[in-house]
Symmetry: C2
């Protein structure tokens, strides 16, 4: 590919994210009809955070394929200090939801004025989209790994790879730290103190693929050579 | 693609990383002959940490294309709290190298027994591969952004995307926190205290693409449903 045609290809890639392009990518299709040879740039440009899922299950082999590729991300000293906690059991997901509601209820400061049961219902309603996902993956790092100070890099990196690889297989994800907090996952899944919880990822077939959110222009983010003044 | 052929494709993808497959991907080619329509899985499976570079420059437009795609990674609340510090000026790179050597010299505990100049040369020798890169990118997060507690996710995520997107354009990278420490970058590029330094990324055309490092089998990393006992 010469420079000009490469430039044109990239220009086209950068345009992806509109509804039309998303449809062209087969975004709303289930994984079974997905194209695993999707171009790299199409995947990066079409990943979204998904907050509502179809009930379609995710086969075990698809979850494992996602993790198999995700764990090839860079990791300090090749330590791979991870555990991937896969939750698919409906009762276990319900426990995670309950623990999330209780935790979030305890951190609200308006429960004195409002009826606690009403606040609980309000929280549950806000969570229902997330909890339509058939799979939750807890991304954990091992505080007993060598150089545990590097876990704060390795956790987010592998988690973001999971979201990206899932997109390449036409699944949706959302990377959660607050909507479903680590503390609720720890309670629901009996996670030992040894493991730190980077995030909880919901995984499933998206109800729809949202439009691309507005992004800052690159020039706002770039500094050349040094900071001046 | 049906399930069987998809399984075979993935099996083939997972096999990538051997010298033969790397050659088939055109790994050792410069970016000008690169194929920007590389399959997503090929890119993920062929990314490596590169510790020696060819002197070939990286055109400005390629650097900007890498960042343009990388900044589409997930970011908490769509805050995008980043600055990308791009260093290409040879004198500036030399300042970064000098600051790195001085910092690493000051953190050695064997300089009492050894001649300081010898230790300095030893450190410089260990750094020469990294400093063969024509470009360094400092990934910074803004402590004055909303929810700065989320910067520890957003920094590593965008940095790992930079490395991955660069691979899709046939460039090599290495994500550094220790080899070239943030403190040296801060000094060399006059970075205000407001910005935290996630890492320094070297970027360029690899001298060669290393073999795939050994990875833990997935079964060692997976926990199903909950921790028991």
């Amino acid at each position: 590919m010469n420079r000009k045609s490469r430039r044109e290809f990239l220009k086209a890639s950068i345009g992806i994210g509109t509804g039309v392009a998303a449809a062209a990518l087969g975004c709303a299709q289930s994984s079974d009809s997905g194209n695993n040879e999707q171009s790299f740039f199409k995947v990066v440009h079409s990943r979204r955070s998904i907050r509502e899922y179809k009930p379609d299950p995710v086969p075990t082999q698809d979850i494992e394929r996602i993790l198999e590729s995700a764990k090839l991300c860079p990791t300090a000293g090749n330590r791979q200090p991870w555990k991937f906690l896969i939750i698919r059991d409906k009762d276990k997901i319900e426990s995670l939801k309950k623990a999330t509601i209780e935790y979030r209820l305890s951190s609200r400061d308006d429960t004195a004025e409002k009826d606690e049961e009403l606040v609980r219902e309000e929280i549950a309603k806000g969570l229902s989209g997330y909890f339509s996902a058939p799979v939750f993956i807890g991304v954990l790092t091992d505080s007993e790994a060598s150089y545990p100070g590097m876990n704060s890099h390795d956790g987010p990196i592998v988690a973001s790879y999971i979201c990206l690889v899932a997109r390449a297989m036409n699944y949706g994800t959302v990377y959660m730290t607050g909507s479903v907090p680590g503390i609720a996952l720890r309670k629901a899944a009996n996670i030992p103190d040894r493991y730190d919880i980077t995030c909880v990822i919901a995984l499933g077939v998206p109800k729809s693929w949202p439009e691309k959110p507005s992004k800052k222009p690159l020039k706002e983010l770039i500094v050349r050579e040094e900071f001046v003044g």
